[in-house]
């Protein structure tokens, strides 16, 4: 470690930190500040204290629907996605190198393939040409095409399937990498100490060694799962039937981008921010106890 000179600080640290402050830190501060005002982009903001928050919690039914849906998607796709990431990474790690590389690519591809989730629209298409409908019709399981994308009974299931399909992202890679770096000698020592099967090996050796990766993966999973928005719009449109796929992000976009009620939208954004940070901190605390 070297004591940095002023010149070096300017060259190395400053450029990034200026951009970071301007586009990440400052917006959060402004957001929190604006949430206590009424602001429509044309007139100057008018201070209103907690009025926005009061209205959100007392008067806004749609917000509660959004909150419920967001929590539903976050709780289901977050942990399930996280466990899937780890399970698949762990399984893939048991295979030899070439197969591992191919399968890693295959499992990671959906998460970087942009709008490819739209192909699921074809699968769940509501006429008899959609694959799922065609398959079920063919085998006589149903006799009319099912409205997967507009019937409230099925929308959430379809959403969960598509989101999980896309969720093997950075966490998945981190787990694959972490698993590869676990010292083999630890396993061999464990075998001598009496570990009888791979489940014990997982619990006593692998997980504790991988704790930093597990924590990183959790952060990425949680952040992603609370911010679900565009995938749902792509699948079900906005607003979706009965607002079954309406999340806090949609609510935010509505008040901010459509109605230009910036103060109110900032209040929603601040609440989302607090939820995300709160859950992350909570999970970090839980994960810290692995292996102890």
């Amino acid at each position: 470690m070297v004591k940095a000179s002023k010149k070096n600080l300017c060259i190395f640290i400053a450029p990034y930190m200026i951009i970071f402050t301007l586009f990440t830190v400052l917006p959060v501060v402004i957001s929190i500040g604006l949430s206590f005002t009424n602001f429509n982009m044309i007139q100057l903001p008018k201070f209103v204290g907690f009025a926005n928050y009061t209205r959100l919690f007392v008067n806004d039914d749609l917000f509660f629907t959004a909150l419920q849906n967001t929590l539903f998607f976050a709780v289901i796709t977050g942990p399930v996605g996280y466990i899937l990431c780890f399970t698949f990474a762990w399984f893939i790690n048991q295979l030899p190198v070439k197969l591992r590389a191919f399968l890693t690519l295959l499992f990671y591809a959906p998460s970087i393939a942009g709008n490819s989730f739209m192909i699921w629209l074809l699968a769940f298409s509501e006429d008899s040409y959609g694959f799922v409908n065609a398959f079920l019709l063919n085998y006589g399981i149903i006799d009319k095409p099912v409205l997967w994308l507009t019937d409230v009974k099925y929308m959430k299931t379809v959403a969960v399937i598509v989101i999980l399909w896309q969720s093997l992202g950075a966490s998945f890679l981190a787990f694959i990498a972490g698993l590869q770096n676990v010292d083999r000698t630890l396993y061999e020592a464990g075998m001598m100490d009496g570990i009888r099967n791979r489940w014990q090996e997982l619990y006593y050796i692998t997980l504790p060694v991988m704790r930093p990766q597990l924590m990183f993966g959790a952060v990425m999973s949680i952040t992603g799962s609370f911010g679900i928005g565009s995938v749902l719009t792509g699948l079900f449109g906005n607003p979706s039937t009965d607002y079954a796929a309406y999340t806090i992000v949609h609510h935010l976009e509505d008040y901010g981008g459509t109605r230009f009620m910036m103060g109110y939208a900032s209040a929603i954004a601040t609440i989302l921010f607090l939820i995300m940070i709160g859950s992350n901190k909570l999970i970090q605390r839980l994960l810290r106890r692995i292996g102890t």
């Binding site: 470690m1 070297v2 004591k3 940095a4 600080l9 060259i11 190395f12 640290i13 450029p15 990034y16 930190m17 951009i19 970071f20 586009f23 990440t24 917006p27 959060v28 957001s31 893939i92 048991q94 295979l95 070439k98 197969l99 690519l105 295959l106 990671y108 591809a109 959906p110 970087i112 393939a113 942009g114 709008n115 192909i119 008899s128 040409y129 065609a134 399909w165 950075a170 981190a174 990498a177 972490g178 075998m191 570990i195 009888r196 099967n197 791979r198 930093p212 924590m215 990183f216 952040t223 911010g227 928005g229 935010l252 976009e253 981008g257 900032s266 954004a269 921010f273 995300m276 992350n280």
Partner: protein
């Protein structure tokens, strides 16, 4: 050893040295489970590719088929002709996205790496606070900052400019975080030796540090390409000729079911760039991610 010969290259299906407490039976179960998973993950993407090669008369066959009888590239050439009536030539959209992705990625890798090096190897006041804020920013997503960002962009006069996408992308925190974690592992002794020889920090950075962290900047390139290439709708850009490829393509894809083949071609074009970049850099990425753990 069990092995399967494919085109004279052996691909081993079972691990070479078997740890005795792992039973073969469970190995088989894992294999089947992975197989199902692989199909679930891969089939939609493979289907996108085959769908994009289907001529119009095969699109609505019942029951639906997987492979086209008469594969055709017409869907891809249609991409160019459909947009030929618009004000903006299709090539301009391509140029916009390539420009944004290229410049954004280049600047992000350089600037974030420099900052990561400073955070990893320099001592200065406020260093821990800064890094803490970076880690904190990993915990919330863009939706929270989108409205104030719009106001800031307006204030800076960057609305409707490509820079409105490029500059925030330079400040992407995942890249900084990964690079800093990776750089922390660099042995100080090499850096010390270079300093004793009289190298300036800048020269040290370019000539010694950057070559050593190649896996990490490969990773940053992939993640940056991934997020910039896929941008479609941006709240900062209004003029048609500044819009990126993702926007044009989503317009085509949403034009209706008759265009399903072209829609699939759109999906294939958009997904090929991130996927190819990933294939090229895969081992570097895995190496970088091994140091990505959150230690606190």
């Amino acid at each position: 050893m069990d092995a399967v010969s494919v085109k004279k290259r052996k691909i081993r299906l079972w691990p070479k040295k078997r740890l005795s407490h792992r039973s073969r039976a469970v190995d088989a179960v894992i294999f089947i489970f992975l197989g199902i998973g692989a199909v679930f993950m891969g089939l939609p993407l493979v289907y996108s590719i085959t769908l994009s090669l289907k001529p119009l008369d095969e699109l609505w066959v019942f029951p639906p088929t997987l492979f086209p009888q008469n594969p055709t590239l017409k869907n891809y050439s249609d991409l160019f002709t459909i947009m030929s009536n618009s004000l903006v030539p299709f090539s301009k959209y391509i140029f916009n996205t390539v420009f944004i992705t290229g410049i954004g990625t280049l600047l992000h890798v350089i600037i974030a790496s420099m900052c990561a090096y400073g955070l990893a190897k320099f001592e200065f006041k406020g260093k821990n606070l800064l890094f803490h804020m970076v880690v904190l920013s990993l915990m919330f997503s863009g939706a929270v900052t989108s409205i104030p960002n719009f106001m800031i962009m307006r204030y800076l006069g960057l609305i409707d400019s490509q820079l409105s996408i490029i500059i925030p992308a330079i400040g992407s925190t995942l890249g900084l975080y990964l690079m800093k974690q990776f750089m922390e592992q660099l042995p100080d002794s090499i850096l010390e030796a270079a300093r004793v020889e009289g190298a300036t920090e800048v020269k040290l950075f370019w000539k010694i540090v950057m070559p050593m962290v190649k896996p990490a900047w490969l990773t940053l390139i992939v993640f940056s390409v991934q997020s910039l290439w896929n941008i479609g709708q941006s709240i900062f850009i209004y003029r048609e000729e500044q819009k990126p490829l993702g926007y044009a393509l989503s317009q085509i894809a949403s034009a209706g079911i008759a265009r399903a083949g072209v829609g699939a071609a759109v999906i294939v074009v958009m997904m090929s760039v991130p996927i190819i970049t990933f294939i090229i850099t895969q081992s570097g990425i895995i190496e970088t991610m091994s140091s990505s753990g959150l230690k606190e």
